[in-house]
């Protein structure tokens, strides 16, 4: 053994020339390591693969001319971007490679931004400066943020765009859900511009809950809100039977009767299902409230709570008082104050109280509560943060009840507890936490929501946009949110509009709902007499709509008050309603308008002027448009509808004045020819 080693030593380093030769060879070999590593690098491999792929294509010459070898880099000092992704993703800008289905050679889909101006990691995250697949895409010891999964990509739009963005529906939905499902009652979300996100779900006050419902219903509701109404916003706190018993005991004991004589049952609930259903339909309750039909489908809107099992919930006295004037129980409610007569209240309450589910409360038998149970219930109510959402006498709304989420988008993963088997990334954590919050440990308080997978993705998208980079971007690089309008009409009419909850459906000056038309320029648009008639007895303008304006049973005085206010205040500077007459157009012009209507512009595709021949279902019916709209409004509308009502579906036909005037003359001549048609 020793001998052999010695002879090897002799062979290699026996004399100085030999030694020099061997050492030189070793030295050379080690010098070659660096260029060899470069030669066999991944990006070179992909570039060769790319060249091989394009060689046989018909557009090979163009592609080869565009190709640049070597490490490529997008460097944007302002944004802190050093992205070498284009070294391997060589075909990003080649739209003609659209048929290629292997990465990294797919072209980038068309987006509103240029790659050279934004780089890659601004949107996709990952380590831009890396030149190997693993380092660029995955989370490594030196780099925590891996590539963002494609389904959350819109979160990156939200880092700069704080306004609702037409091109990012998922982000918009997620931002809405944060408010709509009340996440922000418990979690503070401070936006980069300093504003705090406000909830929009309006959970009811529980101070007078005993007036409204029974302890048994509260118990069932607390156990599983979705068992009562599948669309309920309230999450499931997974309370044990005993805990639900105690909380319901506390809430009942803690409730005080509403001041005023509200408990007297003034009219007996009448049981005339046919009349009730008619009144329910005529009052368009279904515009806001949903009811499950026999087939199990929900029919109706989602502004107010679902009414499928309302009879199990409310006390008859309370329901009648609520129908008479909801504002006496909840001044802030979105429900309008219908001016129902006593017989109407009796009919409608009878109809609604019959909506019951015999099984819902059948197995609930609660014994009278002991003081210990009530005390325990109070402790539970404050432990679970009930007062974060609901007003409860004796419990203050807790501050910072749950972790702040203002920068959740890049919270270090070392500060998080993950479930076994899940990937250690922020997007996965957020999604899993929303999906099953209680799985993350015992004693956690976050309740169980019933979100669909798509809603969870949207919420995660919105939350991922709240991160350090978003919070620290200079204002010059961001698009600010449109400030929320808090427009309130003034005076007597303003009070009336609040009472009728006009803003639950209509938007005026940027404030209000989007179910019904924007009324900002209503005074320029319609004729006074029509408006007064409409408020008295709203008939429908669009035959295909299921959401409609209800009849509020207004008095003549109230109608005048509202009409005067709308006609005077809501006028557009672009339309002078007295500039064109409402009649007296020459017959020739009217006839020309008719030809344009049916010929050149083919308006009958969407509108009805002659009920015998026209069938268009999309726009409003125009049989009486001459008694409804002002001529000046029609004229301006013809020329550019979007200028008067942004986002309206009517196409802008860029009409010349002559065509617009002729169509105005034709339409204003459509006075409806008497009410006989309506009566039919």
């Amino acid at each position: 053994m020793k001998k052999q080693l010695k002879s090897l030593w002799q062979k290699l380093f026996g004399n100085s020339v030999r030694a020099f030769g061997v050492v030189s060879l070793v030295f050379l070999a080690s010098l070659a390591i660096a260029p060899a590593k470069n030669h066999f690098s991944e990006w070179r491999h992909y570039q060769q693969g790319y060249l091989k792929m394009i060689r046989n294509r018909s557009d090979a010459v163009t592609l080869q001319r565009h190709f640049q070898g070597g490490i490529q880099q997008i460097w944007l000092p302002d944004l802190g971007v050093v992205d070498r992704c284009t070294s391997c993703h060589v075909g990003l800008k080649e739209a003609s490679l659209n048929d290629v289905n292997v990465q990294p050679f797919r072209p980038h889909p068309a987006i509103p931004h240029k790659l050279d101006q934004f780089g890659c990691t601004m949107c996709h995250r990952g380590q831009g400066a890396a030149t190997t697949v693993v380092e660029a895409h995955n989370s490594t010891l030196a780099w925590e943020q891996p590539i963002l999964p494609a389904k959350y990509i819109e979160s990156s739009c939200g880092e700069c765009h704080r306004e609702p963005l037409a091109g990012a529906p998922q982000l918009n939905q997620g931002r809405q859900l944060l408010s709509r499902y009340g996440c922000v009652h418990c979690h503070t979300v401070k936006l980069p511009d300093g504003k705090i996100v406000k909830p929009t779900d309006d959970p009811p006050s529980l101070e007078h809950i005993a007036d409204k419902t029974t302890r048994e219903w509260i118990y069932v509701w607390l156990k599983d809100p979705q068992a009562y109404a599948s669309t309920a916003t309230m999450p499931n706190f997974k309370l044990s039977d005993d805990d639900a018993r105690d909380v319901s005991a506390f809430l009942m004991a803690n409730s005080t009767p509403l001041p005023g004589d509200t408990t007297a049952l003034s009219a007996k609930a009448s049981s005339d299902p046919a009349a009730g259903a008619t009144l329910y339909g005529e009052s368009f309750c279904a515009s806001c409230h949903a009811v499950q039909n026999a087939a199990g489908n929900l029919v109706g809107g989602d502004v107010g709570p679902e009414l499928t099992r309302l009879g199990n919930k409310v006390k008859p006295e309370w329901l009648q008082e609520w129908l008479r004037n909801p504002r006496s129980y909840d001044a802030e409610t979105a429900m309008p104050h219908y001016r129902f007569s006593d017989p109407q209240v009796a009919t409608l309450s009878g109809f609604l109280l019959a909506k019951t589910d015999s099984e819902l409360l059948a197995n609930v038998h609660l014994e009278a509560a002991t003081p210990e149970q009530i005390a325990h219930g109070k402790r539970l109510a404050s432990d679970y943060g009930c007062a974060s959402c609901h007003e409860i006498a004796g419990i203050k709304k807790p501050e910072n009840f749950a972790p702040e989420l203002s920068r959740i988008g890049n919270k270090p993963v070392t500060q998080l507890v993950f479930l076994p088997g899940m990937q250690h990334t922020i997007p996965d954590y957020i999604a899993a936490k929303i999906r099953q919050p209680r799985a993350f440990g015992q004693g956690l308080k976050m309740p169980q929501y019933t979100f669909t997978p798509a809603q969870i993705d949207s919420l995660a998208t919105a939350l991922l946009a709240l991160n350090d980079r978003s919070a620290t971007l200079p204002p010059s690089l961001t698009v600010a949110a449109t400030p929320e309008s808090d427009y309130q009409p003034a005076g007597k009419a303003g009070k009336l509009m609040t009472d009728l909850a006009c803003f639950s459906c209509h938007r005026i000056n940027g404030h209000g709902g989007d179910m019904a038309p924007d009324l900002t320029w209503e005074g320029s648009s319609v004729q006074r007499q029509w408006l007064a008639e409409f408020l008295k007895n709203p008939n429908t303008l669009r035959p295909a709509l299921i959401r409609r304006m209800p009849r509020f049973n207004l008095t003549g005085g109230e109608v005048n008050e509202l009409t005067d206010y709308i006609m005077t205040v809501y006028q557009s500077p672009a339309v002078d309603r007295d500039s064109m007459p409402l009649s007296g157009y020459p017959q020739g012009q009217v006839e020309l308008g008719r030809q344009l209507f049916y010929g050149k512009y083919a308006c009958q595709g969407c509108h009805i002027v002659d009920t015998k021949t026209d069938k268009g279902y999309i726009g409003p019916t125009l049989t009486q448009v001459g008694s409804r709209l002002t001529a000046a409004w029609i004229f301006e509308w013809m020329k550019n509808p979007q200028a008067l009502r942004p986002g309206t579906t009517e196409p802008n036909r860029a009409m010349n004045d002559e065509d617009a005037r002729a169509l105005t003359a034709f339409l204003i001549s459509q006075k409806g020819g008497g009410k006989s048609e309506v009566k039919k």
């Binding site: 290629v100 289905n101 889909p109 389904k151 990509i153 595709g605 069938k615 196409p651």
Partner: protein, 244 residues
């Protein structure tokens, strides 16, 4: 002596390897209790979703025997190109012979071919191919515009929320999925019809001109959406992703 200890060591090592390999194994595939002869789609094919997101409706397939009766207890396995996830990825058919899975499409736009397979009686694999459409960014924008401006006339189906205007039109519009017609229209002509209206290409005047309402990029988004959803597919519909 040495031999004995060696045996013990080998046994220990084997046990260690076994227990370790057991730990990393995935959720076990259930054992089928019955075998079918055919697998058919119940619902959930040809859906449209944004790339990387879950399909709006679950995918439901059914296993039948030779007579076409539903088979309960047959094993169905789902597979597709990398990036597509199934929840669950396999399952036994229920009493009505069906298996339901939620599908999330891959992050790249295009058509995804999903495979549902079951083992037949002679241990022969029976396969069903189902296609789903993943929309890219531009196509998603196109879909939004379509829902606002086009759908009411071009989609003959009515829903509770959206009553179709299709039947009211004297000259019927082409449903935007009608590949046989739309694939014959070039991109330039399609954009021209949208921006200048039907008469621009000798078509019905009931199709209004949208060129002053929609921007150029809006119309591009619309055409790319239409190209993505036609059946049979357009040649510009983007790549097909199938199981390797």
């Amino acid at each position: 002596m040495i031999r004995d200890s060696l045996t013990v060591l080998t046994l220990l090592a084997a046990a260690l390897v076994l227990s370790c390999s057991h730990k990393t194994a995935f959720a076990p595939t259930p054992k089928p209790t019955a075998f079918g002869a055919a697998i058919v789609e119940s619902s959930g094919g040809k859906q449209i979703a944004q790339a990387g997101t879950a399909l709006p409706q679950p995918l439901i397939v059914q296993v039948n025997d030779e007579q076409g009766a539903a088979v309960a207890g047959a094993l169905v396995e789902f597979s597709a190109a990398p990036g597509v996830t199934f929840d669950p990825a396999n399952g036994l058919t229920d009493s009505s012979g069906q298996v339901t899975t939620n599908v999330t499409l891959g992050g790249l736009a295009g058509r995804y071919q999903l495979t549902a397979s079951t083992t037949g009686k002679a241990l022969k694999k029976v396969e069903l191919r189902i296609e789903e459409i993943a929309l890219g960014y531009q196509q998603t924008l196109g879909r939004q515009l379509n829902d606002q401006y086009c759908e009411r006339c071009h989609n003959p189906e009515s829903t509770v929320e959206r009553v179709s205007n299709f039947d009211n039109l004297e000259i019927k519009p082409h449903p935007l999925t009608d590949g046989d017609t739309l694939n014959k229209i070039s991109d330039a002509d399609l954009s021209a019809i949208i921006s200048h209206g039907g008469p621009a290409l000798n078509k019905s005047a009931l199709m209004p001109a949208w060129g002053n309402t929609l921007s150029k990029s809006d119309i591009q988004a619309l055409t790319s959406y239409i190209r993505a959803i036609t059946d049979p597919p357009n040649r510009n519909a983007g790549p097909v992703y199938a199981k390797n």
